[in-house]
Amino acid sequence: MQFGIFSVSDVTPDPTTGRAPTEAERIKAMVAIARKAEEVGLDVFATGEHHNPPFVMSSPTTYLGYLAAQTSTLQLSTATTLITTNDPVKIAEDYALLQHLADGRVDLMMGRGNTGPVYPWFGQDIRTGIELAVENYALLRRLWREDVVDWEGKFRTPLQGFTATPRPLDGVPPFVWHGSIRSPQIAEQAAYYGDGFFHNHIFWPKEHTQRMVEFYRRRFEHYGHGSADQAIVGLGGQVFMRKNSQDAVREFRPYFDVAPVYGHGPSLEEFTSETPLTVGSPQQVIERTLGFRDYVGDYQRQLFLIDHAGLPLKTVLEQLDLLGEEVVPVLRKEFAALKPAHVPDAPTHASLVAAGRTATQPAVQPGEEVTTR
Protein backbone atom coordinates (compact mmCIF):
# COMPACT_ATOMS: atom_id res chain seq x y z
CA MET A 1 0.00 0.00 0.00
CA GLN A 2 1.16 3.51 -0.83
CA PHE A 3 1.10 6.31 1.72
CA GLY A 4 1.57 9.95 1.01
CA ILE A 5 0.28 13.46 1.25
CA PHE A 6 -1.64 15.77 -1.04
CA SER A 7 -1.75 19.52 -1.07
CA VAL A 8 -4.29 22.02 -2.33
CA SER A 9 -1.59 24.74 -2.46
CA ASP A 10 -3.63 27.35 -0.63
CA VAL A 11 -2.11 30.59 0.60
CA THR A 12 -4.05 31.15 3.80
CA PRO A 13 -3.16 33.55 6.63
CA ASP A 14 -2.11 31.77 9.81
CA PRO A 15 -5.06 32.67 12.07
CA THR A 16 -2.84 32.67 15.15
CA THR A 17 -0.55 35.38 13.74
CA GLY A 18 -2.64 36.94 10.97
CA ARG A 19 0.27 36.59 8.58
CA ALA A 20 -0.03 34.87 5.19
CA PRO A 21 3.06 33.46 3.50
CA THR A 22 4.09 35.13 0.26
CA GLU A 23 3.52 33.13 -2.90
CA ALA A 24 7.25 32.52 -3.07
CA GLU A 25 7.31 31.25 0.51
CA ARG A 26 4.34 28.97 -0.07
CA ILE A 27 5.75 27.53 -3.29
CA LYS A 28 9.13 26.84 -1.69
CA ALA A 29 7.35 25.42 1.37
CA MET A 30 5.59 22.94 -0.91
CA VAL A 31 8.99 21.84 -2.17
CA ALA A 32 10.28 21.44 1.38
CA ILE A 33 7.17 19.46 2.33
CA ALA A 34 7.49 17.08 -0.60
CA ARG A 35 11.21 16.52 0.05
CA LYS A 36 10.46 15.86 3.69
CA ALA A 37 7.77 13.38 2.68
CA GLU A 38 10.40 11.34 0.86
CA GLU A 39 12.90 11.73 3.71
CA VAL A 40 10.46 10.32 6.30
CA GLY A 41 9.64 7.34 4.08
CA LEU A 42 6.35 8.28 2.46
CA ASP A 43 5.65 7.03 -1.05
CA VAL A 44 3.57 9.68 -2.80
CA PHE A 45 3.23 13.42 -3.08
CA ALA A 46 0.30 14.82 -5.05
CA THR A 47 -0.45 18.45 -5.80
CA GLY A 48 -3.68 20.10 -6.77
CA GLU A 49 -4.09 22.33 -9.80
CA HIS A 50 -5.76 25.71 -9.41
CA HIS A 51 -6.00 28.83 -11.53
CA ASN A 52 -7.46 31.21 -9.01
CA PRO A 53 -6.20 32.82 -5.79
CA PRO A 54 -5.68 31.94 -2.97
CA PHE A 55 -3.97 28.96 -4.63
CA VAL A 56 -0.49 28.97 -6.17
CA MET A 57 -0.31 25.70 -8.08
CA SER A 58 -1.32 26.65 -11.61
CA SER A 59 1.46 24.68 -13.31
CA PRO A 60 1.83 21.25 -11.69
CA THR A 61 4.33 19.84 -14.18
CA THR A 62 6.71 22.79 -13.68
CA TYR A 63 6.60 22.06 -9.97
CA LEU A 64 6.68 18.27 -10.26
CA GLY A 65 9.55 18.48 -12.76
CA TYR A 66 11.54 20.45 -10.18
CA LEU A 67 10.58 17.92 -7.50
CA ALA A 68 11.67 15.08 -9.76
CA ALA A 69 15.19 16.51 -9.62
CA GLN A 70 15.01 17.05 -5.86
CA THR A 71 13.80 13.55 -4.98
CA SER A 72 14.68 10.01 -5.93
CA THR A 73 11.99 7.63 -4.75
CA LEU A 74 8.89 9.77 -4.28
CA GLN A 75 5.97 9.01 -6.60
CA LEU A 76 4.81 12.32 -8.10
CA SER A 77 1.11 12.71 -8.63
CA THR A 78 -1.71 15.21 -8.95
CA ALA A 79 -4.85 15.85 -6.96
CA THR A 80 -6.28 16.69 -9.36
CA THR A 81 -5.32 17.39 -12.97
CA LEU A 82 -8.16 19.33 -14.55
CA ILE A 83 -9.30 17.07 -17.38
CA THR A 84 -12.06 19.53 -18.28
CA THR A 85 -10.23 22.81 -18.81
CA ASN A 86 -6.78 21.57 -19.85
CA ASP A 87 -6.20 20.64 -23.46
CA PRO A 88 -5.73 16.86 -23.46
CA VAL A 89 -2.91 17.32 -25.97
CA LYS A 90 -0.97 19.40 -23.44
CA ILE A 91 -1.68 16.92 -20.64
CA ALA A 92 -0.40 14.08 -22.84
CA GLU A 93 2.80 15.93 -23.66
CA ASP A 94 3.48 17.55 -20.28
CA TYR A 95 3.13 14.33 -18.32
CA ALA A 96 4.98 12.17 -20.84
CA LEU A 97 7.93 14.58 -20.57
CA LEU A 98 7.65 14.50 -16.79
CA GLN A 99 7.68 10.69 -16.92
CA HIS A 100 11.05 10.77 -18.68
CA LEU A 101 12.55 13.32 -16.29
CA ALA A 102 11.27 11.44 -13.24
CA ASP A 103 12.25 7.99 -14.51
CA GLY A 104 8.63 6.92 -14.44
CA ARG A 105 7.79 8.12 -10.92
CA VAL A 106 4.61 9.75 -12.21
CA ASP A 107 0.90 9.11 -12.13
CA LEU A 108 -2.08 11.42 -12.43
CA MET A 109 -5.44 11.88 -10.87
CA MET A 110 -8.07 13.36 -13.13
CA GLY A 111 -10.70 15.70 -11.74
CA ARG A 112 -13.26 18.05 -13.20
CA GLY A 113 -12.82 21.12 -11.02
CA ASN A 114 -15.88 22.52 -9.29
CA THR A 115 -15.24 26.26 -9.59
CA GLY A 116 -17.64 27.54 -12.25
CA PRO A 117 -15.79 30.76 -13.18
CA VAL A 118 -12.60 28.85 -14.03
CA TYR A 119 -14.15 27.08 -17.02
CA PRO A 120 -14.75 30.11 -19.26
CA TRP A 121 -11.19 31.32 -18.62
CA PHE A 122 -10.22 28.26 -20.64
CA GLY A 123 -13.03 28.47 -23.16
CA GLN A 124 -15.23 25.89 -21.45
CA ASP A 125 -18.50 25.68 -19.52
CA ILE A 126 -19.00 23.91 -16.18
CA ARG A 127 -22.38 22.66 -17.32
CA THR A 128 -20.63 20.32 -19.76
CA GLY A 129 -18.11 19.18 -17.11
CA ILE A 130 -18.94 15.47 -17.34
CA GLU A 131 -18.97 15.46 -21.15
CA LEU A 132 -15.61 17.29 -21.16
CA ALA A 133 -14.14 14.76 -18.75
CA VAL A 134 -15.35 11.88 -20.90
CA GLU A 135 -14.26 13.25 -24.28
CA ASN A 136 -10.94 14.76 -23.18
CA TYR A 137 -9.87 11.65 -21.33
CA ALA A 138 -10.78 9.38 -24.22
CA LEU A 139 -8.54 11.53 -26.45
CA LEU A 140 -5.75 11.62 -23.85
CA ARG A 141 -5.68 7.82 -23.78
CA ARG A 142 -5.32 7.64 -27.54
CA LEU A 143 -2.56 10.27 -27.58
CA TRP A 144 -0.51 8.18 -25.15
CA ARG A 145 -1.23 4.85 -26.80
CA GLU A 146 -1.29 5.56 -30.54
CA ASP A 147 1.71 7.07 -32.28
CA VAL A 148 -0.39 8.83 -34.90
CA VAL A 149 -3.84 10.09 -34.03
CA ASP A 150 -6.69 11.22 -36.26
CA TRP A 151 -9.41 12.57 -34.04
CA GLU A 152 -12.52 14.68 -34.10
CA GLY A 153 -14.73 15.60 -31.16
CA LYS A 154 -17.04 18.21 -29.76
CA PHE A 155 -14.78 20.33 -27.59
CA ARG A 156 -11.45 20.92 -29.33
CA THR A 157 -10.17 21.35 -32.86
CA PRO A 158 -9.73 18.09 -34.81
CA LEU A 159 -6.36 16.39 -35.06
CA GLN A 160 -5.00 15.00 -38.32
CA GLY A 161 -1.93 12.78 -38.26
CA PHE A 162 -0.92 14.14 -34.87
CA THR A 163 1.84 12.62 -32.73
CA ALA A 164 2.06 13.72 -29.11
CA THR A 165 5.70 14.09 -28.14
CA PRO A 166 7.64 12.77 -26.34
CA ARG A 167 6.13 9.30 -26.40
CA PRO A 168 5.42 7.84 -22.94
CA LEU A 169 8.46 6.37 -21.17
CA ASP A 170 9.01 2.75 -22.28
CA GLY A 171 5.77 3.05 -24.26
CA VAL A 172 3.82 2.83 -21.01
CA PRO A 173 1.50 5.73 -20.15
CA PRO A 174 1.31 6.95 -16.56
CA PHE A 175 -1.26 5.19 -14.42
CA VAL A 176 -4.41 7.25 -14.05
CA TRP A 177 -6.75 7.69 -11.12
CA HIS A 178 -10.08 9.45 -11.40
CA GLY A 179 -11.19 11.58 -8.48
CA SER A 180 -14.77 12.50 -7.75
CA ILE A 181 -16.64 13.26 -4.55
CA ARG A 182 -20.16 12.57 -5.72
CA SER A 183 -20.48 11.91 -9.47
CA PRO A 184 -21.18 8.24 -10.23
CA GLN A 185 -20.36 8.94 -13.91
CA ILE A 186 -16.71 9.51 -12.98
CA ALA A 187 -16.56 6.30 -10.94
CA GLU A 188 -18.11 4.63 -13.99
CA GLN A 189 -15.40 6.14 -16.21
CA ALA A 190 -12.67 4.81 -13.91
CA ALA A 191 -14.30 1.37 -13.88
CA TYR A 192 -14.79 1.31 -17.65
CA TYR A 193 -11.08 1.76 -18.32
CA GLY A 194 -9.86 -0.26 -15.34
CA ASP A 195 -8.21 2.91 -13.99
CA GLY A 196 -7.93 3.78 -10.32
CA PHE A 197 -10.63 5.61 -8.40
CA PHE A 198 -9.76 8.11 -5.68
CA HIS A 199 -12.19 9.58 -3.19
CA ASN A 200 -11.23 12.84 -1.50
CA HIS A 201 -12.74 11.51 1.76
CA ILE A 202 -12.24 14.77 3.61
CA PHE A 203 -15.25 16.98 3.41
CA TRP A 204 -18.16 14.57 3.64
CA PRO A 205 -19.34 11.71 5.85
CA LYS A 206 -17.85 8.31 5.16
CA GLU A 207 -21.14 7.01 3.74
CA HIS A 208 -20.58 9.08 0.58
CA THR A 209 -17.14 7.57 0.11
CA GLN A 210 -18.44 4.11 0.80
CA ARG A 211 -21.21 4.31 -1.81
CA MET A 212 -18.94 5.76 -4.50
CA VAL A 213 -16.28 3.10 -3.92
CA GLU A 214 -18.84 0.28 -3.83
CA PHE A 215 -20.25 1.51 -7.13
CA TYR A 216 -16.78 1.78 -8.71
CA ARG A 217 -15.80 -1.72 -7.55
CA ARG A 218 -19.05 -3.25 -8.86
CA ARG A 219 -18.63 -1.55 -12.25
CA PHE A 220 -14.90 -2.45 -12.42
CA GLU A 221 -15.92 -6.10 -12.19
CA HIS A 222 -18.77 -5.55 -14.68
CA TYR A 223 -16.26 -4.31 -17.27
CA GLY A 224 -14.15 -7.42 -16.82
CA HIS A 225 -11.01 -5.99 -15.23
CA GLY A 226 -11.06 -8.40 -12.31
CA SER A 227 -13.13 -9.01 -9.24
CA ALA A 228 -14.56 -6.03 -7.37
CA ASP A 229 -12.03 -6.38 -4.59
CA GLN A 230 -9.20 -6.10 -7.13
CA ALA A 231 -10.20 -2.59 -8.22
CA ILE A 232 -7.64 0.14 -7.50
CA VAL A 233 -8.91 2.45 -4.77
CA GLY A 234 -7.32 5.50 -3.20
CA LEU A 235 -8.54 7.62 -0.32
CA GLY A 236 -7.78 11.05 1.03
CA GLY A 237 -7.86 11.91 4.68
CA GLN A 238 -7.12 14.80 6.95
CA VAL A 239 -5.15 14.58 10.18
CA PHE A 240 -3.51 16.75 12.78
CA MET A 241 -1.40 15.07 15.43
CA ARG A 242 0.49 15.72 18.61
CA LYS A 243 1.84 13.11 21.01
CA ASN A 244 -0.86 14.16 23.41
CA SER A 245 -4.35 14.21 21.95
CA GLN A 246 -5.51 17.30 23.90
CA ASP A 247 -2.50 19.25 22.59
CA ALA A 248 -3.49 18.38 19.03
CA VAL A 249 -7.05 19.61 19.54
CA ARG A 250 -5.93 22.81 21.27
CA GLU A 251 -3.36 23.64 18.60
CA PHE A 252 -5.52 22.78 15.56
CA ARG A 253 -8.78 24.40 16.69
CA PRO A 254 -7.94 28.00 15.65
CA TYR A 255 -7.01 26.72 12.17
CA PHE A 256 -10.12 24.58 11.95
CA ASP A 257 -12.50 27.30 13.14
CA VAL A 258 -11.71 29.67 10.28
CA ALA A 259 -10.53 27.13 7.70
CA PRO A 260 -11.56 27.67 4.09
CA VAL A 261 -14.37 25.30 3.05
CA TYR A 262 -15.83 24.34 6.44
CA GLY A 263 -14.75 27.15 8.78
CA HIS A 264 -17.33 29.16 10.74
CA GLY A 265 -19.68 26.19 10.65
CA PRO A 266 -19.68 22.98 12.68
CA SER A 267 -17.42 22.63 15.70
CA LEU A 268 -14.18 20.66 15.48
CA GLU A 269 -15.79 17.92 17.54
CA GLU A 270 -18.87 17.77 15.28
CA PHE A 271 -16.81 17.72 12.09
CA THR A 272 -14.50 15.07 13.50
CA SER A 273 -17.41 12.79 14.22
CA GLU A 274 -19.22 13.50 10.92
CA THR A 275 -16.20 13.20 8.59
CA PRO A 276 -12.90 11.28 8.53
CA LEU A 277 -10.98 14.26 9.99
CA THR A 278 -8.85 13.01 12.87
CA VAL A 279 -7.27 15.39 15.37
CA GLY A 280 -5.43 13.61 18.12
CA SER A 281 -2.54 11.31 18.92
CA PRO A 282 -0.68 9.19 16.36
CA GLN A 283 -2.40 6.15 17.86
CA GLN A 284 -5.81 7.70 17.21
CA VAL A 285 -4.82 8.40 13.61
CA ILE A 286 -3.66 4.79 13.22
CA GLU A 287 -6.92 3.41 14.56
CA ARG A 288 -9.14 5.71 12.51
CA THR A 289 -7.19 5.05 9.32
CA LEU A 290 -7.27 1.28 9.76
CA GLY A 291 -11.04 1.68 10.10
CA PHE A 292 -11.31 3.10 6.56
CA ARG A 293 -10.76 -0.43 5.29
CA ASP A 294 -14.00 -1.51 7.00
CA TYR A 295 -16.08 0.49 4.54
CA VAL A 296 -14.01 0.60 1.32
CA GLY A 297 -12.27 -2.78 1.50
CA ASP A 298 -8.56 -3.36 0.92
CA TYR A 299 -7.26 -0.30 -0.87
CA GLN A 300 -4.05 0.78 -2.53
CA ARG A 301 -3.30 4.40 -1.71
CA GLN A 302 -3.80 6.64 1.31
CA LEU A 303 -3.04 10.35 1.00
CA PHE A 304 -3.28 12.77 3.91
CA LEU A 305 -3.92 16.50 3.76
CA ILE A 306 -1.67 18.20 6.30
CA ASP A 307 -0.51 21.55 4.89
CA HIS A 308 -3.58 23.74 4.57
CA ALA A 309 -5.55 26.44 6.40
CA GLY A 310 -2.48 28.53 7.21
CA LEU A 311 -0.57 25.92 9.21
CA PRO A 312 3.06 27.04 9.38
CA LEU A 313 5.72 25.07 7.53
CA LYS A 314 7.44 24.07 10.78
CA THR A 315 4.22 22.50 12.03
CA VAL A 316 3.63 20.69 8.74
CA LEU A 317 7.15 19.23 8.83
CA GLU A 318 6.50 18.05 12.41
CA GLN A 319 3.33 16.35 11.16
CA LEU A 320 5.45 14.58 8.56
CA ASP A 321 7.85 13.38 11.25
CA LEU A 322 4.94 11.89 13.18
CA LEU A 323 3.51 10.29 10.04
CA GLY A 324 6.87 8.85 9.04
CA GLU A 325 8.04 7.71 12.47
CA GLU A 326 4.89 6.62 14.26
CA VAL A 327 1.92 6.26 11.93
CA VAL A 328 2.84 4.96 8.51
CA PRO A 329 5.16 2.11 9.62
CA VAL A 330 2.32 0.69 11.72
CA LEU A 331 -0.28 1.21 8.99
CA ARG A 332 1.98 -0.47 6.42
CA LYS A 333 2.38 -3.53 8.59
CA GLU A 334 -1.27 -3.76 9.64
CA PHE A 335 -2.77 -3.18 6.20
CA ALA A 336 -0.32 -5.64 4.60
CA ALA A 337 -1.25 -8.32 7.13
CA LEU A 338 -4.94 -7.89 6.32
CA LYS A 339 -4.68 -7.76 2.53
CA PRO A 340 -5.40 -11.03 0.67
CA ALA A 341 -2.84 -12.08 -1.93
CA HIS A 342 -5.16 -11.63 -4.91
CA VAL A 343 -5.63 -7.91 -4.18
CA PRO A 344 -3.06 -5.98 -6.25
CA ASP A 345 -0.85 -3.09 -5.15
CA ALA A 346 -1.21 0.31 -6.79
CA PRO A 347 0.32 0.15 -10.26
CA THR A 348 3.68 1.91 -10.71
CA HIS A 349 5.70 2.46 -13.85
CA ALA A 350 7.88 -0.52 -12.97
CA SER A 351 4.90 -2.80 -12.36
CA LEU A 352 3.20 -1.69 -15.58
CA VAL A 353 6.36 -2.32 -17.58
CA ALA A 354 6.82 -5.71 -15.91
CA ALA A 355 3.21 -6.69 -16.51
CA GLY A 356 3.42 -5.97 -20.23
CA ARG A 357 2.53 -2.87 -22.13
CA THR A 358 -0.97 -2.25 -20.85
CA ALA A 359 -1.95 -5.01 -18.51
CA THR A 360 -3.94 -2.94 -16.05
CA GLN A 361 -4.90 -0.26 -18.54
CA PRO A 362 -6.34 -1.66 -21.77
CA ALA A 363 -5.03 -0.18 -25.01
CA VAL A 364 -7.81 2.29 -25.67
CA GLN A 365 -11.13 0.61 -25.04
CA PRO A 366 -11.81 -2.47 -22.91
CA GLY A 367 -12.96 -4.32 -26.03
CA GLU A 368 -9.54 -3.93 -27.62
CA GLU A 369 -7.60 -5.31 -24.72
CA VAL A 370 -7.46 -8.85 -26.06
CA THR A 371 -6.50 -7.93 -29.60
CA THR A 372 -3.61 -5.65 -28.73
CA ARG A 373 -1.65 -8.11 -26.61
Binding site: I130, E131, V134, E135, A138, G153, K154, P184, Q185, E188, Q189, Y192, F203, W204, P205, H208, R211, M212, E214, F215, R218, R219, H222, V261, Y262, G263, H264, G265, P266, E270, F271, E274
Partner: protein, 205 residues
Protein backbone atom coordinates in the same frame (compact mmCIF):
# COMPACT_ATOMS: atom_id res chain seq x y z
CA UNK B 1 -61.71 -1.96 1.98
CA UNK B 2 -58.08 -1.93 0.94
CA UNK B 3 -55.37 -1.49 3.52
CA UNK B 4 -53.01 0.79 1.68
CA UNK B 5 -50.52 2.86 3.64
CA UNK B 6 -48.73 6.09 2.83
CA UNK B 7 -46.23 8.23 4.70
CA UNK B 8 -46.94 11.91 5.19
CA UNK B 9 -44.10 14.27 6.11
CA UNK B 10 -44.85 17.61 7.73
CA UNK B 11 -42.34 20.46 7.67
CA UNK B 12 -43.05 23.33 10.04
CA UNK B 13 -40.82 26.40 10.07
CA UNK B 14 -42.43 28.11 13.06
CA UNK B 15 -39.98 29.64 15.51
CA UNK B 16 -41.97 30.15 18.69
CA UNK B 17 -43.44 27.49 20.91
CA UNK B 18 -46.32 27.09 20.63
CA UNK B 19 -46.36 28.48 17.12
CA UNK B 20 -49.31 29.31 14.91
CA UNK B 21 -47.34 27.80 12.03
CA UNK B 22 -47.20 24.46 13.81
CA UNK B 23 -50.85 24.87 14.75
CA UNK B 24 -51.79 25.25 11.08
CA UNK B 25 -49.52 22.33 10.17
CA UNK B 26 -51.31 20.17 12.74
CA UNK B 27 -54.74 21.18 11.40
CA UNK B 28 -53.68 20.35 7.83
CA UNK B 29 -52.16 17.07 8.98
CA UNK B 30 -55.24 15.92 10.88
CA UNK B 31 -57.48 16.80 7.95
CA UNK B 32 -55.20 15.01 5.47
CA UNK B 33 -55.01 11.87 7.63
CA UNK B 34 -58.80 11.88 7.78
CA UNK B 35 -59.14 12.45 4.04
CA UNK B 36 -56.74 9.59 3.35
CA UNK B 37 -58.67 7.36 5.74
CA UNK B 38 -61.85 8.10 3.78
CA UNK B 39 -59.96 6.89 0.69
CA UNK B 40 -58.99 3.62 2.38
CA UNK B 41 -55.43 4.70 3.16
CA UNK B 42 -53.69 4.59 6.53
CA UNK B 43 -51.20 7.42 6.90
CA UNK B 44 -48.02 7.46 8.95
CA UNK B 45 -47.14 11.00 9.95
CA UNK B 46 -43.62 12.32 10.58
CA UNK B 47 -43.18 15.93 11.67
CA UNK B 48 -39.97 17.88 11.08
CA UNK B 49 -39.66 21.05 13.18
CA UNK B 50 -37.05 23.12 11.36
CA UNK B 51 -36.33 25.18 14.48
CA UNK B 52 -34.51 22.15 15.87
CA UNK B 53 -32.29 22.10 12.78
CA UNK B 54 -31.47 25.80 12.50
CA UNK B 55 -27.76 25.32 13.24
CA UNK B 56 -27.61 22.07 11.27
CA UNK B 57 -28.92 23.93 8.24
CA UNK B 58 -26.34 26.71 8.58
CA UNK B 59 -23.62 24.04 8.86
CA UNK B 60 -24.98 22.31 5.76
CA UNK B 61 -24.70 25.55 3.80
CA UNK B 62 -21.01 25.72 4.72
CA UNK B 63 -19.99 22.07 4.58
CA UNK B 64 -22.20 20.90 1.74
CA UNK B 65 -23.60 17.92 3.62
CA UNK B 66 -26.30 17.39 6.25
CA UNK B 67 -25.06 16.19 9.62
CA UNK B 68 -26.60 13.07 11.13
CA UNK B 69 -29.48 14.90 12.78
CA UNK B 70 -30.41 16.90 9.69
CA UNK B 71 -29.88 13.85 7.45
CA UNK B 72 -32.64 12.07 9.31
CA UNK B 73 -35.01 14.99 8.70
CA UNK B 74 -34.03 15.19 5.04
CA UNK B 75 -34.55 11.45 4.58
CA UNK B 76 -37.94 11.70 6.29
CA UNK B 77 -39.10 14.39 3.87
CA UNK B 78 -37.58 13.04 0.68
CA UNK B 79 -38.77 9.52 1.42
CA UNK B 80 -42.39 10.44 2.18
CA UNK B 81 -45.35 9.90 -0.16
CA UNK B 82 -46.73 13.36 0.53
CA UNK B 83 -45.57 16.57 2.15
CA UNK B 84 -47.23 19.35 4.11
CA UNK B 85 -44.96 22.41 4.20
CA UNK B 86 -45.86 25.37 6.38
CA UNK B 87 -43.92 28.58 6.94
CA UNK B 88 -44.43 31.90 8.64
CA UNK B 89 -44.32 34.82 6.22
CA UNK B 90 -41.37 37.10 6.97
CA UNK B 91 -40.68 40.22 4.92
CA UNK B 92 -43.20 39.28 2.25
CA UNK B 93 -41.93 35.71 1.67
CA UNK B 94 -41.18 32.35 3.25
CA UNK B 95 -38.80 32.47 6.21
CA UNK B 96 -35.09 32.02 5.56
CA UNK B 97 -35.10 28.88 7.68
CA UNK B 98 -37.86 27.35 5.54
CA UNK B 99 -36.07 28.21 2.30
CA UNK B 100 -32.75 26.91 3.57
CA UNK B 101 -34.23 23.49 4.22
CA UNK B 102 -35.42 23.23 0.62
CA UNK B 103 -32.13 24.71 -0.59
CA UNK B 104 -30.13 21.81 0.83
CA UNK B 105 -32.29 19.09 -0.74
CA UNK B 106 -31.12 17.55 -4.01
CA UNK B 107 -32.97 19.37 -6.73
CA UNK B 108 -34.73 16.18 -7.86
CA UNK B 109 -35.53 14.93 -4.38
CA UNK B 110 -39.18 16.04 -4.44
CA UNK B 111 -39.88 15.57 -8.15
CA UNK B 112 -43.44 14.34 -8.67
CA UNK B 113 -44.17 14.49 -4.93
CA UNK B 114 -47.59 15.82 -3.78
CA UNK B 115 -47.21 18.89 -1.57
CA UNK B 116 -49.69 20.94 0.40
CA UNK B 117 -48.46 24.46 1.13
CA UNK B 118 -49.44 26.52 4.15
CA UNK B 119 -48.39 29.85 5.60
CA UNK B 120 -49.16 32.05 8.59
CA UNK B 121 -48.79 35.73 9.34
CA UNK B 122 -50.26 38.47 11.48
CA UNK B 123 -52.41 39.83 8.71
CA UNK B 124 -54.20 38.43 5.69
CA UNK B 125 -52.47 41.04 3.52
CA UNK B 126 -49.54 38.57 3.29
CA UNK B 127 -51.64 35.72 1.93
CA UNK B 128 -50.50 35.88 -1.69
CA UNK B 129 -46.94 35.11 -0.62
CA UNK B 130 -48.10 31.50 -0.91
CA UNK B 131 -48.71 32.00 -4.62
CA UNK B 132 -45.78 34.36 -5.26
CA UNK B 133 -43.11 32.58 -3.26
CA UNK B 134 -44.01 29.04 -2.20
CA UNK B 135 -45.70 27.85 -5.38
CA UNK B 136 -42.74 28.82 -7.64
CA UNK B 137 -40.38 27.12 -5.17
CA UNK B 138 -42.24 23.82 -5.45
CA UNK B 139 -42.64 24.28 -9.21
CA UNK B 140 -38.85 24.56 -9.44
CA UNK B 141 -38.50 21.37 -7.40
CA UNK B 142 -41.03 19.76 -9.77
CA UNK B 143 -43.21 18.77 -6.85
CA UNK B 144 -46.96 18.54 -7.46
CA UNK B 145 -48.53 21.30 -5.39
CA UNK B 146 -52.19 20.99 -4.41
CA UNK B 147 -54.31 23.71 -6.06
CA UNK B 148 -55.41 25.06 -2.69
CA UNK B 149 -52.74 26.57 -0.48
CA UNK B 150 -53.84 27.49 3.01
CA UNK B 151 -53.08 30.80 4.67
CA UNK B 152 -53.99 31.57 8.26
CA UNK B 153 -53.79 35.07 9.71
CA UNK B 154 -54.27 36.01 13.35
CA UNK B 155 -57.93 36.75 12.70
CA UNK B 156 -58.50 33.15 11.51
CA UNK B 157 -57.45 31.82 14.90
CA UNK B 158 -59.80 34.33 16.53
CA UNK B 159 -62.71 32.45 15.04
CA UNK B 160 -63.42 34.93 12.29
CA UNK B 161 -65.49 33.68 9.39
CA UNK B 162 -62.49 33.59 7.05
CA UNK B 163 -63.41 30.00 6.23
CA UNK B 164 -60.15 28.48 7.52
CA UNK B 165 -61.83 25.18 8.33
CA UNK B 166 -63.27 24.90 4.81
CA UNK B 167 -59.94 25.76 3.20
CA UNK B 168 -58.13 23.21 5.36
CA UNK B 169 -60.65 20.51 4.45
CA UNK B 170 -60.54 21.30 0.74
CA UNK B 171 -56.74 21.41 0.62
CA UNK B 172 -56.44 18.16 2.61
CA UNK B 173 -58.84 16.46 0.17
CA UNK B 174 -56.72 17.63 -2.74
CA UNK B 175 -53.50 16.35 -1.16
CA UNK B 176 -55.16 13.03 -0.28
CA UNK B 177 -56.33 12.63 -3.91
CA UNK B 178 -52.82 13.32 -5.20
CA UNK B 179 -51.28 10.86 -2.74
CA UNK B 180 -53.89 8.18 -3.40
CA UNK B 181 -53.41 8.48 -7.14
CA UNK B 182 -49.70 7.92 -7.00
CA UNK B 183 -47.71 4.78 -6.17
CA UNK B 184 -45.67 4.92 -2.96
CA UNK B 185 -42.46 6.95 -3.21
CA UNK B 186 -39.39 5.18 -4.54
CA UNK B 187 -36.61 7.73 -4.93
CA UNK B 188 -34.08 7.03 -7.69
CA UNK B 189 -30.75 5.71 -6.44
CA UNK B 190 -27.80 7.42 -8.19
CA UNK B 191 -25.73 4.32 -7.49
CA UNK B 192 -27.93 1.92 -9.41
CA UNK B 193 -26.22 0.57 -12.52
CA UNK B 194 -26.35 3.39 -15.08
CA UNK B 195 -29.13 3.41 -17.66
CA UNK B 196 -26.86 5.19 -20.14
CA UNK B 197 -23.93 2.97 -21.07
CA UNK B 198 -20.44 4.43 -20.97
CA UNK B 199 -20.13 3.76 -24.72
CA UNK B 200 -23.06 6.13 -25.24
CA UNK B 201 -21.42 8.75 -23.01
CA UNK B 202 -18.28 8.41 -25.14
CA UNK B 203 -20.30 9.04 -28.26
CA UNK B 204 -21.59 12.21 -26.62
CA UNK B 205 -25.16 11.06 -26.05
Amino acid sequence: MSTQTRTLAVVSAGLSNPSSTRLLADRLTAATVEALRERGITATVEVVELRQHARDLADNLLTGFPNASLREAVDTVTGADGLIAVTPIFSASFSGLFKTFFDVLDKDALAGRPVLMGATAGTARHSLALEHALRPLFAYLRAVAAPTAVFAASEDWAGGDGGLHDRVTRAAGELADLMAGRPPAAPADPFDDPTTSFEELLKGR
